[in-house]
């Protein structure tokens, strides 16, 4: 096994073991932190598929996260308060299925438009579509608008009690591992080679006969759907959802996780999410002005650190 494989396995093992240990030793707070980290890592891994491997700089990924969360919140809301009987449920399979289906559809429709554009147009238009969803949710008073929505009952899954923080963490962790393996398999497949080839040289790939647009669109939909799943978990974790989850600053943070950790690597997004959570938590504890050092650090990373944390771990070797 290579050094990177060892590092990956070690990090993932630590992530599996440490949070429950904290929980059992009376530091439940750190388990919560780890659950949030794990869920955001799933979103970051999904973004890495299009951003890292596909070279598609999507600045609207938080929209999928938010849509996924609302796909849990809205059925739960109707189940409790009536209205929209067809939608009212607390069944986890239905809610998660809805989250995946809606984000896949959103990615399909917006991706079909976005992927016709290149470069900076793509960045801005993905951002704009995410903002569109943001304003859409804000405008619907039934679901709390600006003020957000409390999820009173978590998703019900057979054999799982998501009200138990340990079980919720376990679900998130297993999901993360599965998603990492899925993305890794996709990336190494023929499909993944086309996606990466198109990142490296689009004209070449088209001339070879690949309909690059279609491959990218499929990747975009897969990525959106995975992120929607992460959103469904996030809704269950926070039990409070608001349009703020889809703010473009959240999309920026997801991008930051991918780039800081190391784009186009298996473990990078996880490391990036961990770094983000640690920074947010500990800088935030030191000062309410934690965005200042955080922002400066972001600028510093872009200016001076190439290849992210994975680049540092590799020690400059390929």
């Amino acid at each position: 096994m290579t050094r990177m494989t060892w590092i990956t396995l070690t990090v993932m093992a630590l992530l599996a073991v440490l949070p429950p240990v904290f929980f059992w030793t009376g530091n439940a707070f750190y388990l919560d932190l780890a659950t949030r980290l794990t869920i955001l890592a799933i979103a970051a891994v999904s973004l890495n598929l299009i951003l890292g491997y596909g070279g598609l700089v999507s600045f609207g990924h938080a929209a999928c996260l938010g849509l996924g969360a609302y796909a849990v919140g809205i059925p739960a809301h109707h189940w409790l308060y009536g209205g929209m009987d067809a939608l009212a449920t607390t069944n986890g399979f239905v809610q998660i299925g809805l989250a995946v289906a809606i984000t896949a559809l959103f990615a399909l429709v917006t991706g079909a438009v976005c992927l016709r554009t290149r470069g900076v147009y793509f960045i801005m238009i993905t951002m704009a579509f995410a903002q569109m969803v943001y304003y859409l949710i804000v405008s619907i008073e039934e679901y709390g608008g600006d003020d957000g929505l409390v999820i009173d009952t978590r998703s019900e899954l057979p054999g799982f009690n998501l009200d138990d923080p340990l079980q919720l963490f376990a679900l998130a962790y297993v999901s993360l591992v599965v998603v990492m393996l899925v993305v890794r398999t996709i990336v190494n497949s023929r499909f993944g080679m086309v996606l990466q080839g198109a990142k490296g040289n689009e004209e070449r790939m088209v001339t070879l006969g690949f309909n690059v647009y279609l491959y990218r669109l499929v990747a975009y939909v897969i990525s959106g759907a995975i992120c929607g799943y992460a959103g469904a978990l996030l809704g269950n974790f926070t039990t409070f959802i608001s349009p703020e989850m889809m703010d473009w600053a959240r999309s920026g943070e997801l991008m930051f996780m991918v780039i800081l950790g190391g784009a186009a690597t298996t473990l990078g997004p996880v490391l990036g999410s961990a770094a983000f959570i640690v920074l947010e938590e500990f800088l935030g504890r030191l000062t309410i002005y934690w965005h200042l050092p955080f922002g400066l650090m972001l600028i510093g990373v872009v200016l001076f650190v190439r290849g992210g944390l994975m680049g540092l771990l590799r020690g400059g070797k390929e």
Binding site: V113, R116, V120, M127, L292, F294
Partner: protein, 307 residues
């Protein structure tokens, strides 16, 4: 339909459009010439609003505050250019986006530190605070007319610059190409710094003009910047003419859509359905328009030619 209400909404739309143009013109200028994506452009807009608000309180004179705040935002633009943009020109757009995203956090927090978490209201001098009675039922705050006047004046100034100056010639050439610009014998570093400062001042001006209405508040730039993106995407990135037309279009559609979409919907659907769907659709209206424009013309309405 109430005609005087329509006129007021129309003027509101025009006002929003012109403010959008001030923000979007700086964005499109910086992107068109420097090939640099500046997410923090909205933060400069906010900075302009805060500096102007603070100066107004200190000096007691809004107009003087605007005159002093303009060079301050221009200098802020120069600093951003020198320390963040310049090292990144040769990098890809992703790096621009991440670094300027960090810059937004920095500027937002600095403003928070210096001016406090509350917004600052900006009192207007009496002669701007009045209202102008156009007809029996039609009353317009004079300051809104001033915003429209200032916006049009800035647009005219930019138009003159684009058509009559050397800088304008470069803009019209769509000169994002460094070798071409230097072949014309221009000192690139100075040109780029100048363009950046100009863009910052334009965004700052927009912030100063809106501050007396909405007050200066943290995060105000983050709302307008996305709409400004929509404007330059629809207009064609790098095109001044496109930015102007798209800004007015987006400003008017957004404002009028919010006021009249439910009436429009009531023509084709039930009262209830119209009242529930209209707010949602009008919130999405400009994005839907953007999608339609892009589906038909991926380069926007007025793509700059030589790219």
């Amino acid at each position: 339909m109430d005609l005087s209400l329509f006129v007021i909404q129309f003027l509101n739309g025009l006002q929003l459009g012109l403010l959008l143009f001030l923000v979007a013109s700086g964005l499109t200028l910086v992107f068109g010439i420097l090939d640099f994506v500046n997410l923090a452009h909205g933060a400069l807009y906010m900075l302009g609003a805060f500096v102007c608000a603070w100066l107004t309180q200190v000096l007691g004179n809004f107009l003087l505050a605007v005159l002093l705040a303009l060079p301050v935002t221009a200098v802020a633009g120069l600093l951003v250019e020198r320390f963040i943009a310049r090292p990144l020109y040769a990098r890809d757009h992703l790096d621009h986006v991440l670094a300027t995203f960090g810059l937004i956090l920095v500027i937002d927090t600095l403003v928070h530190l210096v001016f406090g978490p509350e917004g600052i209201a900006v009192p207007l001098p009496d002669f701007l605070n009045g209202q102008i009675r156009l007809t029996e039922t039609l009353v317009i705050p004079s300051f809104r007319l001033m915003i429209i006047g200032a916006g049009l004046a800035a647009a005219a100034g930019l138009y003159w610059m684009v058509t009559h100056t050397r800088l304008g010639m470069l803009i019209r050439a769509g000169a994002s190409n460094r070798t071409m610009v230097s072949a014309l014998g221009v000192d690139i570093e100075r040109l780029f710094a100048l363009v950046f400062a100009l863009g910052a001042a334009l965004a700052g001006l927009a912030g100063m003009l809106i501050a007396p209405i909405t007050e200066a508040s943290i995060g105000m730039g983050n709302n307008i910047i996305i709409t400004a993106f929509v404007v330059i995407i629809v207009g064609g990135i790098g095109s001044m003419k496109g930015a102007f037309i798209a800004a007015l279009m987006i400003g008017l559609i957004d404002t009028l859509g919010r006021s009249y979409l439910d009436d429009l919907f009531k023509l084709v659907m039930s009262q209830d359905a119209a009242e529930t769907s209209a707010p949602a659709i009008s919130a999405m209206l400009i994005y839907i328009i953007m999608a339609v424009v892009l589906a038909l013309r991926p380069q926007g309405l007025f793509p700059p030619k030589a790219r």
